[in-house]
Amino acid sequence: MPKSKSDKLSGSVMVVGGGIAGMQSALDLAESGYYVYLLEKSSAIGGVMSQLDKTFPTNDCAM
């Protein structure tokens, strides 16, 4: 188990990647009481999904 310098478990989580999976992980953790560092290499989150037009099988807009 990772221990912080103060020997106390850290309440922060690092999420690497700001695509749909990273965003979802980050949201779940932040909403349940953890401090989240969401790291994304480009200038905006969204990842590949933001490039899609519609999604199957409902043909909903990917945005």
Binding site: G11, V15, Q24, D28, Y34, Y37, S43, P57
Partner: protein
């Protein structure tokens, strides 16, 4: 962790886009996979979050690094490309005060460094600089100077070094006097370069730039006995800069050099340039190979010499003069002799008559990197000349300074100085230019002058002269890759004075580019550094958000765990060009490119055209499995899991776009529509005419000149076909992103052979390194809902490991106490935002503000440049207090993005956050009426009036808090249910499992192994152990749910167990009721003992040992009219069993009769293994199902083989059926919790993609096969995801629900119940009130605030808080 700079302040940027508007750098838009362009200042996509722009910038371009003065070349080239000559000059003159001069004579080392050399020829940087100075008078550029200081500085020499020093000193507020020995200023620029290269007016004009700053130039004032350096100090100069240049020609050192008619090249040019003439012979011989030799030769031609020859001792390749100049000289008639050296000047009567030369050959390379010339003995020859001009080099004339105290000189006769500060050994004396370097390029002298100026300024201030000035060169510079399509744009030619017009005059030869040519040339620039630092964006940004000097920030963060969601990289078909022709045929697109063409935000705004001729395509083909299931071309043996579905989607949407006569054709091996709702989608596509052809495409060729494509393919039966298409879409697969692979390795996370993160079937989000979890495609190819589910599961795993520190790192904000405004008259404060230029530029903001003042109840109106800025928030708080405002209206952008910010400001001012209203005068006004200021202004007034009208009726609404019962109920005790229970309990939340049967384990009890071969029984018993021993997990077996009421955080559910009903209170409920294999009534199942289903056979190893032939039939009861869905697990499970049988009994014949093999993801390898083992796969279609009959020996199975095109008879001992997976009857549960089930009786999640484990009703979640058939690993993931979502609710101290809910007036309510009926969220219930009967009651925790109840109520008894009838009608009535 390294945070790269964005170069734009996130907090200040208002996303107005002005920076991108003015940015000159056009780059490929990666968002549109390069199909469109974007600027270096950009926003990734319109809806991007953060909404702020960013600037893409890497290392400084190589041209700039190559320039001795470090000019921002890319910047001014881009400005010239835009026709912004003034801006180009501003950039140039940051460093260089003589743009027109250097634009003509600079040897442009930048061009040698230009990366365009790798493509064709370098960009004509120097000529573009000149164009800027030709088009805009550099004297008119406003030079920013600091206020003048008292100290004066003396500069000796008015060449480029001296002028540059004076210029840069003047900008620092330090004025100088330049002492020039010659009658005219300019140094070598004046006397060393003839007018045909640098017209004297140009030099005059640009020297004026410097003198305009207050610099005084004293000509005819040489340093010497009458004016010494000491004298200069005595005159009061605080520092002296020596820049006397190198004007003394070097002698040849051969006999006869003193004869008449022998003239040093520099002296020849000096006289010519100062007086306009100089004696010239008829036959002129020039010795040397540098630019001076060429200048002399071309001048001699112009002065009327009949024969001009240059003698150079090496070959042309070594010649230091510029190639252009050499060619020009030759064109003008100069003869150049290579590999010859003078040995003796032949004289007659003390005058030169000829020269004796010796031939040379090239030997070893010398210290200059050139091959040393060696005389060839005996090869002497004489040539006849009457003038000899040696031009083999210059050195400084030190006569005036060699005695200066403290000055030291090198053995080459140059001044010794500190290489960074240019300080000499004597205090306050600096030196630079050719005096220090020996003869070098003008731009080097300019740089030296600038550096000396910096040193002098620091010296005068008493600061450290060297600090922070060590030159830094990036070690591995990162540049923009050279775009592939950029070749073949040749360098523009410089127009020249025709040869015939050059004789007898010194008219300038190079005429300069015209504007159009210049722009073309500038556009050849590759923008190596992305951003060109032209700073146009800085000027355009009113919010002052651009920070060009932002630095990367390295941060160390302490975290308890990490989740890798590094995503996917779309397969690049480029290496397989021979097969796919993606690069060479314009109409071959990748699916991602096609996706962008379909998108309304794409390169064609969603208008589908074929790229070659922009015509609407009618025939589109998709080729499946490009980069997937393909070990022949690439090494990807896995299935990408999503391509079949997206191809079908693209085909359907393309059909929508193009209409009637469209044909979509999908070439595939199997169609894998194994997800929820996917099979129906596939069937719909077939019914809409999308063709599915089962074949491997063997060739793509171009059929005509318009780019029509021809596909050659072989059908299953072996027949060969050819067909034409307008567009061919390559359904490219997914790979782990290379950078993700690198990072994973760096973090010590194990990867499998395909570079996906290694995980276990029973812990699918754990990596090999404890504390690091993985989700999404990095774990294995998958679709969006699966990624989202996995992400929540990873969050759950992370949360379990850190549960004791929950809330430790987060902070709660404290606000001042809320002021009671009841009884106060409305006092509305209006803040009208200019949004920089975004509103102010398109509407009359002062007019709107004035108008707002006239509206009822308005007591204060303010205008802000940016109402959203931090300082404005503080100001708003002050204004609220000062004017005792109790309603606030902000007329600015959209509440969607900014309402939360202003609401917080209200809270900071002690006002209830609901006393706030926004008027959207940007997104829905100025931005959409930017062509008509008057209309925009009038509409803005209307919007402000409506907002003010509504605001007067606003009222404070208190936060709604609901307590939470901090426990979970899990219905179903299978793997999913148990995993969900443990995931909650391990976070400290008690969980109760309700299981209908008498044991835990569910459907997994029948399974021996997962597809990877992990032992399921062992796992299951471990899981059950943990459940039974967990102190806060309770298990109720033989238990049935019989009813439920309540809402999120507060459910009460009745459980019938052991004949008694128990009511359990719980905050959340996870439904994991599972699914079972169905029993078929076909293929003799139940009639013949040889026919089994699913895992029955597995349990009886003896039967397999004795069997000779085993047949599997797949899709038994799935994918038919009764159950039009795919059971997802049958293919993998059956193949896995078949492989095991074959391993147990290699002699056994195994047949698998299938419709499509759906071993998605890495399970594909199992399919491949089965084939390799000799398991026989026979495809059947639903209209030709296998026929099973009994025979004496066993079973006769007849099936039509589409490859052999005939019926097969298989004599089988055993037949195993993969029957459809159908949900357990859980309609009762659906009823109790009011959650929907689909036509196949599976539960319907809130959103197929984004909320895969949630229900629309809060606090209820689904996981496992109750949602859809799935293998164990996916059930585990989903269970953890459901637990993650449930834990979000349970971890809150209480539930804060939006208070913008419906409100029932129980006096008006007649209890008709219509509201409860129309509400989709069970947010209105009927409650019995004593003496009144039933009355409607709102359940705020469930209410979404939609208002349907209010607009349905026949009595008008329901109103919506914050959107009350009177509030909305006030806005409605505020019409003009």
């Amino acid at each position: 962790m390294l945070q790269k700079p964005r170069y734009i302040d996130l907090n200040k940027c208002t996303a107005c886009g002005e920076c991108a508007e003015v940015c000159p750098v056009e780059l490929d838009n990666e968002y549109d996979v390069g199909l469109s362009n974007r600027k270096a200042a950009f926003k990734l996509y319109a809806q991007a979050i953060p909404g702020a722009y960013a600037i893409q910038k890497t290392d400084r371009a190589p041209c700039s690094l190559a320039c001795p003065a470090g000019l921002n070349v890319q910047g001014y080239v881009q400005m010239v490309g835009q026709g912004k000559y003034e801006d180009a000059l501003k950039i140039i003159m940051e460093d260089l005060p003589l743009p027109g001069v250097l634009g003509r004579i600079c040897p442009h080392g930048c061009e040698d460094a230009c990366r365009r050399c790798e493509v064709d020829n370098p960009v004509a940087i120097r000529d573009l600089k000149r164009l800027a100075a030709d088009q805009f008078d550099p004297r008119k550029i406003k030079i920013e100077c600091l206020p003048p200081r008292e100290e004066k500085v003396a500069i000796v020499g008015s060449g480029p070094a001296g002028l540059s020093a004076a210029y840069h000193l003047a900008r620092k507020g330090i004025l100088s006097t330049i002492f020039e020995a010659l009658p005219e200023a300019g140094g070598m620029l004046r006397v060393g370069i003839p007018d045909h290269r640098l017209p004297r007016e140009i030099l005059d004009r640009e020297i004026e730039i410097i003198t305009n700053l207050g610099v005084e130039i004293k000509v005819n004032t040489p340093l010497g006995p009458q004016l010494t350096v000491d004298d200069l100090f005595k005159e009061g100069h605080k520092a002296v800069y020596l820049a006397v240049g190198a004007h003394r020609g070097i002698e040849l050192g051969i006999p006869g050099e003193g004869a008449g008619g022998v003239r040093q090249g520099v002296d020849f040019l000096k006289e010519l340039n100062l007086s306009g003439k100089t004696p010239v012979g008829k036959k002129v011989g020039i010795i040397g190979g540098g630019n001076v030799a060429i200048d002399v030769s071309r001048s001699a031609v112009r002065l009327g010499a009949e024969e001009v020859s240059i003698i150079y001792r090496r070959s042309r390749a070594e010649m230091p003069a510029w190639e252009d100049e050499i060619q020009a000289a030759e064109a003008e008639g100069v003869k150049i002799t290579y590999l010859a050296a003078p040995q003796e000047v032949l004289t007659q009567d003390g005058k030169v008559v000829g020269i004796r030369c010796i031939r040379m050959k090239l030997g070893e390379t010398d210290s200059s990197g050139r091959r040393r010339p060696i005389p060839i003995p005996g090869s002497e020859y004489d040539i006849e000349i009457d003038q000899l001009v040696p031009a083999i080099g210059q050195r400084p004339d030190l006569s005036a300074i060699e005695d200066v105290e403290g000055l030291a000189f090198s053995r080459w006769g140059t001044a010794d100085v500190d290489p960074v500060t240019y300080a000499t050994n004597r205090e306050a004396v600096f030196a630079g230019g050719d005096l220090q370097t020996g003869p070098w390029v003008a731009i080097g002298a300019i740089a030296a002058g600038r550096e000396a100026a910096e040193s002098i300024a620091r010296f005068l201030d008493g600061r450290d002269m060297a600090e922070g000035r060590e030159p830094v060169t990036p070690e591995n510079p990162v540049y923009r890759p050279i775009p592939e399509d950029n070749a073949g744009k040749a360098r523009e030619k410089m127009p020249e004075l025709p040869l015939k017009d050059r004789k007898g005059n010194f008219k300038e030869v190079e005429l300069g580019y015209d504007e159009d040519t210049g722009k073309e040339e500038a556009h050849r620039c590759l923008n190596c550094g992305y951003c060109c630092e032209c700073f146009q964006c800085v000027e355009a940004c009113i919010a002052e958000a651009v920070i060009h000097n932002q630095k990367p920030v390295e941060r160390e963060i302490e975290v308890g765990s990490a989740i890798l969601c590094l995503g996917t990289h779309v397969f690049d078909p480029a290496p397989y060009e021979d097969l796919y022709h993606h690069e060479s045929y314009p109409n071959v697109l990748t699916s991602m490119e096609f996706e962008r063409f379909l998108s309304a935000t794409g390169p064609t705004s969603g208008h589908l055209v074929r790229p070659s001729d922009k015509k609407e395509p009618k025939r589109i083909a998709w080729i499946q499995c490009v980069g997937s299931r393909d070990t022949a071309h690439c090494s990807n043996d896995y299935c990408s899991s999503v391509c079949c579905m997206y191809a079908i989607k693209e085909a359907l949407i393309a059909k929508e776009h193009t209409g009637g006569d469209f044909t979509g054709t999908i070439f595939n091996m199997d169609i894998r529509s194994h997800g929820k709702g996917f099979e129906r989608y596939y069937e719909r596509a077939k019914s809409e005419g999308i063709r599915f052809i089962r074949s491997r495409v063997h060739s793509i060729t171009e059929a005509d000149d318009n780019g029509t494509l021809k596909i050659g393919y072989v059908e299953e039966s072996g027949e060969i076909y050819e067909e034409e298409f307008d567009i061919v879409v390559l359904s490219v697969g997914m790979e782990p992103d290379p950078s993700a692979v690198e990072l994973s390795r760096k973090l010590g996370v194990d990867l499998n052979k395909n570079n996906f993160v290694n995980t276990d079937d029973f812990s699918p989000v754990m990596t090999s390194r404890p504390g690091i979890y993985v989700a999404g495609v990095l774990q294995g190819t998958k679709d969006i809902p699966q990624s989202v589910t996995e992400a929540s599961a990873a969050a759950c795993a992370s949360s379990v490991s850190l549960a004791q520190s929950r809330g430790e790192s987060t902070k709660e904000k404290v606000f001042p106490e809320e002021k009671d405004i009841s009884g106060e008259e409305p006092r509305v404060g209006v803040f009208v935002c200019n949004c920089g230029n975004n509103i102010g530029g398109f509407a009359d903001v002062p007019g709107i503000a004035e108008y707002a003042k006239t509206l009822p109840n308005v007591v204060n109106v303010d205008e802000n440049l940016f109402t959203c800025s931090q300082d404005t928030q503080e100001k708003i708080v002050e204004v609220i207090k000062e004017h005792k405002l109790n309603r606030i209206v902000v007329a600015a952008c959209t509440p969607t993005t900014h309402e939360a910010l202003f609401r917080e400001t209200l809270r900071n001012a002690g006002l209830n956050e609901n006393l706030f209203e926004m008027a959207n005068i940007r997104n829905q006004c100025t931005w959409v009426h930017s062509h008509n200021k008057e209309e925009a202004t009038e509409k803005a007034k209307d919007l402000v009036r409506m907002a003010v009208a509504k605001s007067s009726f606003l009222e404070p609404i208190s936060d709604l808090m609901v307590d939470i019962e901090k426990s979970g109920l899990i219905i179903g005790g299978g793997v999913a249910g148990m995993t969900a229970a443990l995931s909650l309990a391990d976070q400290g939340f008690p969980a109760t499992i309700v299981e209908r049967s008498d044991t835990l384990g569910g459907a997994a009890r029948d399974i021996k192994k997962t597809w990877r071969g992990n032992d399921v029984h062992e796992y299951l018993s471990g899981l059950i152990d943990r459940i039974e021993q967990h102190p806060i997990v309770e298990v109720l077996l033989n238990a049935d749910v019989t009813g439920s009421s309540g809402f999120v955080g507060n459910f009460e559910t009745d459980i019938l167990t052991g004949g008694k009903t128990r009511t359990i209170k719980h905050g959340v409920c996870i439904i994991a009721t599972g699914a079972n294999a169905s029993s078929p009534d076909e293929y003799l199942y139940g009639k013949n003992p040889r026919v089994t289903r699913w895992h029955d056979l597995e349990q009886e190893p003896n039967r397999i040992k004795d069997a000779r032939t085993v047949v599997f039939i797949l899709c038994v009861g799935s994918r038919d009219d009764k159950r039009p869905y795919c059971s997802r697990v049958c293919c993998t499970s059956s193949i896995g069993q078949a492989v095991n049988f074959k391993e147990q009994n290699p002699e056994i014949n195994v047949f698998i009769l299938y419709r499509d093999i759906r071993t998605y993801g890495e399970k594909e390898a199992l399919y491949q293994e089965a084939r390799d083992m000799g398991i026989i796969f026979v495809r059947y279609t639903i209209d030709k199902k296998p026929i099973v009959t009994e025979s004496d020996e066993g079973l006769d199975i007849r099936v039509f083989d589409p490859v052999l095109q005939r019926e097969l008879l298989i004599k089988a001992d055993l037949l195993n059926l993969a029957t459809a997976i159908e949900p357990t009857g859980h309609e009762d549960i659906a009823g109790y919790f009011k959650i929907p089930i689909d036509d196949d009786k599976f539960f319907i999640e809130a959103h197929a993609k984004l909320r895969p484990v949630d229900f629309a009703n809060d606090g209820l979640f689904v996981c496992g096969m109750a949602h859809y058939p799935k293998p164990i690993d996916e059930s585990i993931v989903q269970a953890m995801a459901a637990a993650s979502k449930a834990a979000i609710i349970l971890s809150q101290p209480c539930i804060k629900v939006s208070p913008l809910v419906s409100q029932v007036d129980t006096e008006k309510c007649i209890g008709c119940g219509l509201c409860a009926e129309v509400c989709n969220f069970v947010a209105i219930i009927m409650e019995e009130i004593e003496g009144k009967g039933f009355r409607a009651k709102n359940v705020p925790a469930s209410c979404k605030g939609c208002g349907l109840c209010a607009s349905s109520c026949p009595q008008g008894a329901i109103d919506m808080l914050h959107f009350r009838d009177r509030q909305l009608l006030a806005a409605v009535s505020a019409v003009r």
